[in-house]
Amino acid sequence: MNISHEWLSRFVPHGRDAAEVRDLITAHVATVEGFERLRADLEAFVVARVVESEKIPDTKLSFNKVDDGSGTLLEVVCGAPNVTVGATYPFARSGTTMPAGFKIEKKKIRGFTSNGMLCSARELGLGEEHDGILALDTDAAPGTALLEVLPLGDVRLVIDVLPNRPDLLSHLGVAREIAALTGTALQRPDELRALSTASLALAPARGVDHVKDSGLDVRIDDVADCPQYGAAIISGLTVGPSPDWLKACVESVGGRSINNIVDATNYMLHGFGQPVHAFDATKIGGDAIVVRRARAGETLVTLDGAERKLDPSMLVIADGAVPMALAGVMGGRASEVTDATTKVVLEVALFAPRVVRTTRRRVGLSTDASYRYERGIDAAAVGQMLALGAALLAFVGGGSVDALLHAGAAPVARAKVTIRPERVALLLGEPVGGDEIRRLLESIGFACEAGASSALVVTPPSWRHDVAREVDLIEEVARLRGFDRLPDTLQGARPGTVPDHPLFTAYRRVRDALVAEGLHEVRPLPFTSGRDAGTDGADLVRVQNPLAEDEPFLRQSVLDTLARRAEYNLNRMQGDLRFFEVGTTFTAQGKALPREEQHVGVLVMGARRPVHFTEAQPPAFDAWDAKALAHTVAEAAFPGADISMVPGESPVLWRVQAGGVVVGAVSRLTLDAPVWAKPAFGVEVLLGEMPSTPIAARGQHAHAAGPARSHANEPVRYRALSVTPTAEFDLALLVPDAVLAAQVEEVLRTVSGAQLERCELFDEFRGAGVPVGTRSLAWRLTFRHPERTLREKEIEGRRTLVLKTLEAQLGVRPRTV
């Protein structure tokens, strides 16, 4: 909402400057987001004194020496007849841009140098008179900014009015608040004092849904859509330019002056928050105004020239036959006021927010009027606004009010709300006396009467739709006193009952582990094209109103989005990538909410380490690195669980199991990658499901369900540290290709017995000396007896047993060199 400081000050003579008003509004009412000096174009102008002046012969010009406060006198040529030595004038130094847009340059005139310009009122955009330069009535020293001396430069305050306070969408509304905050009485602005009060006295003809007067029939089809409709017949008008004060009002809020009639309707909107519309009376067919739903097939050309297709969800103002306006949104071109208009019907109405919103949405057209109707205007003021608006139009257009017609139901009386001082004290943390509460509420138009015990029974004013409960009144008390005045001592608090969500702690563990591995956490968008889902797409979740039609789905895999981020980097010639994300995946479940899971995704490709002088070409990440990262992730995600990797089908390299359950996979990724890119590997592991079923029915809780189960792990048990020495031997084995290393290791472990301390695969070899169809694998086995040194014979015995078993079970024989 744009508020002119000057216009506001005519509603409430508060005596504060614009900055003070801004701070008051922000602290107590709504945030002032903009503070725009309307004459910022005059900021560069200064006060200058003429020290010497002489006529330039044979011209109207004078050659002057001017003190502009800079310390040296400036030579200035001036064409005005009224240059007076010793007087002060507005001065534009060379380099200053004039309001008309041109720049003052240093130049030679008739052989005299001119270093700037002494300005007239017209040159400054301050009026039309051009009798000469503008003599200033000031004692200010030369060099003082002109805006400090001249009382001009209105300030526009841009207020962020939130949806609950439509009453602030007018100068009157903001003025009410300023009046309360400064203890100043509201008044009718000077410009409205001259209005003929005769029309105000004219009693509006009133009926419920049908009124007739002076040959005009006003009918409301459904008072649910249009609770009140006022029409004023004003004749004898002359459409022409607005008076200066009206033009200034319209321009001060950022509007453009059109003509006196249109500007007056805008005055009503911005001044009082009442949208009004003027129809050219001669263009109303059948001398009737009907407020009704549009009929299928009807069309209307609105003021903006667009032809709108109408349907019965929309409310229109029609004459005897056709729609003339979209109710509460925009008028029609056919009944528009033109320069030839002499008689108008002024509409001052109350439309239901819902039907205006529907109409506005259907036609896709939001206006100042629809904005206010959707949020709610002051229903009790419609009659008064009708009289005032009619008088204003008659005044600025030189016409007279013939009749006021007002159809509709009287506004419903507001429900009373009780406020208890003890509740105020509890909620605000400091006691506020009953008298103070009453004073504050009454200052903004709330009517208070004494209730039971110390309570007050409060009737909100008709313009405040947002106050329905005690807490709403407490907010009024709090903001009027000022949030900054309320206490803010930190008090102790009882500990909460909510345990940390296990998915958050798991996320932290996984993140710490992966950051330690040198990976970057990323947080990309979860939208996807669905192409890489790896499914038929049936269980993909589609956003119904997606932002981008090429990415309408929610991902089922974190790797899907990580892959896109990798490609983004590859496009920028960056191929050493180490990403991880802990994020959400979505799988459709019919009509229910999607199944939502937290997944850990890891993507690595390119150099495993940075270049070092000991290693000019560091190796690239391979599948074994990815497998290790999968272990890291799974161990952090499922502490204490047995983690295993089961070989999978390409592109899956391994399925990750935790405690015997598949929780993820390691795979080789297919990217849209340039030829130089190294292979990319991905790990995706389920961290856990995020349930979305309702906790309890609406208005109910499930506290009886008891506290969540603790997920504490078994603590590690200490094992005695043996002091006996170890014994070890190596086994080089010829393993047929059909046999997995894991199978061999399984045998090694089972046969070796409890004294096997370590079993490490340290070599794989194919080639010379190894028969085709087999490979050589070498393990080092380390044994230790907890109490004594193992004897040579015992070790030999184990070796023999292991080899015998391997040969018998797997056909694996020792490799003889």
Partner: protein
């Protein structure tokens, strides 16, 4: 050879050795002395020891022990002299250039938005808050209705909210977690709820269709606006520095009443007005307010008995202003050159 002769030879060696060792002037001389005294080929001790076999059996044990003791003494003296000489001698041989770089390791990074969340979490943890989470795909009731949104609130518009089904939305804020938490656990409640939220905002330098939010909720008997102000001001001082000034402005959220926006004094201009704070001297940090009784009632709580306060902030905004990131999209692009800056 008798034991006495053997011992006499050892004693002689033990007596001569210190002077000879001390006389070694450099490492070369030291090596000669060592070889002469205890060298395996021709050392004096080796010579003497070779006589061990000729001794009577019953004397060998004592002889061996004595020889060993002498050896320990001589070895110690040699070692200590070598240390002295090595310390005195100039370094020889190919030297190591210690200015060369350490072996490289990739440095992992936490996303700048997560860094902000971490800091917020840490500060509120000190005040006894725990972490609550909730789903991102949410019932419209949890996202709107339970939070006291009127039926036709503009936020529910298709233009502002991403819908995935009948009465199913991608949550537009973390506030549904308030209702879920209040339904699940009895007061006192002190939780923080970080998470991603969605808006139907097109990607531009200051808007994203998904972003992180962090919500706070306190509900108990006797909780007041003073607690809200005190806690959030404390948070601001811990987060932005001990002299940080805060102000609270009236605002509006359907689910809080009174509602307040918290600003901190602009750190760039100290309140005098600059381009960062749009000349206002203040920077908006978070929205807050007393939990609306309708929200408590929606979660089945007695709104006369319990009161509470809540806040919500956007860590991405804090991250971009703190790090001077000109475009919010950089946070999502995942360019490694950007991520490396946080290593």
């Amino acid at each position: 050879m008798t034991l006495a002769e053997f011992i006499a030879a050892l004693d002689l060696l033990a007596a001569e050795a210190p002077a000879r060792i001390a006389a070694a002037a450099d490492l070369e001389a030291w090596t000669e002395v060592r070889n002469a005294l205890v060298g395996r080929q021709s050392g004096r001790l080796t010579d003497i020891m070779s006589g061990l076999g000729a001794l009577p059996k019953e004397d060998r044990r004592e002889a061996g022990q004595r020889a060993n003791a002498v050896k320990v003494v001589i070895d110690d003296a040699l070692e200590s002299r070598r240390g002295e000489l090595a310390a005195a001698a100039p370094a020889t041989g190919p030297s190591i250039d210690l200015s060369m770089p350490a072996r490289g390791r990739w440095k992992g990074t936490v996303h700048p938005v997560s860094l902000v969340i971490d800091e917020v979490v840490e500060i509120f943890r000190e005040l006894g808050f725990t972490i609550a989470l909730g789903p991102e795909a949410e019932h419209a009731w949890y996202n709107f209705g339970a939070l006291n949104f009127p039926d036709d609130h503009p936020a529910m518009d298709l233009h502002d909210t991403l819908y995935i089904g009948e009465e199913q939305v991608l949550r537009t804020h973390t506030s549904p977690v308030q209702v879920r938490t209040l339904q699940q656990y009895p007061p006192p409640i002190r939780v923080l709820a970080p998470g991603n939220v969605y808006r139907r905002d097109f990607f531009d330098p200051s808007h994203a269709p998904m972003f992180a939010q962090i919500e706070g909720l306190v509900v108990d008997e006797g909780v007041s606006f003073a607690d809200l102000k005190a806690t959030l001001s404390h948070f601001a001082r811990r987060f932005f520095g001990p002299t940080t000034k805060t102000r609270f402005r009236p605002s509006y959220f359907p689910f809080t009443e009174p509602s307040a926006e918290m600003d901190v004094q602009c750190g760039v201009c100290s309140g005098s007005g600059c381009s960062v704070c749009k000349q206002s001297g203040w920077v908006e940090i978070l929205g807050s307010g007393m939990v609306h009784p309708a929200v408590l009632e929606a979660a089945g709580l007695d709104s006369e008995r319990y009161t509470g306060w809540a806040f919500g902030m956007g860590p991405a905004r804090t991250a971009i202003s703190r790090h001077g990131i000109p475009d919010i999209r950089i946070l999502y692009d995942s360019d490694v050159r950007f991520l490396d800056q946080f290593a």
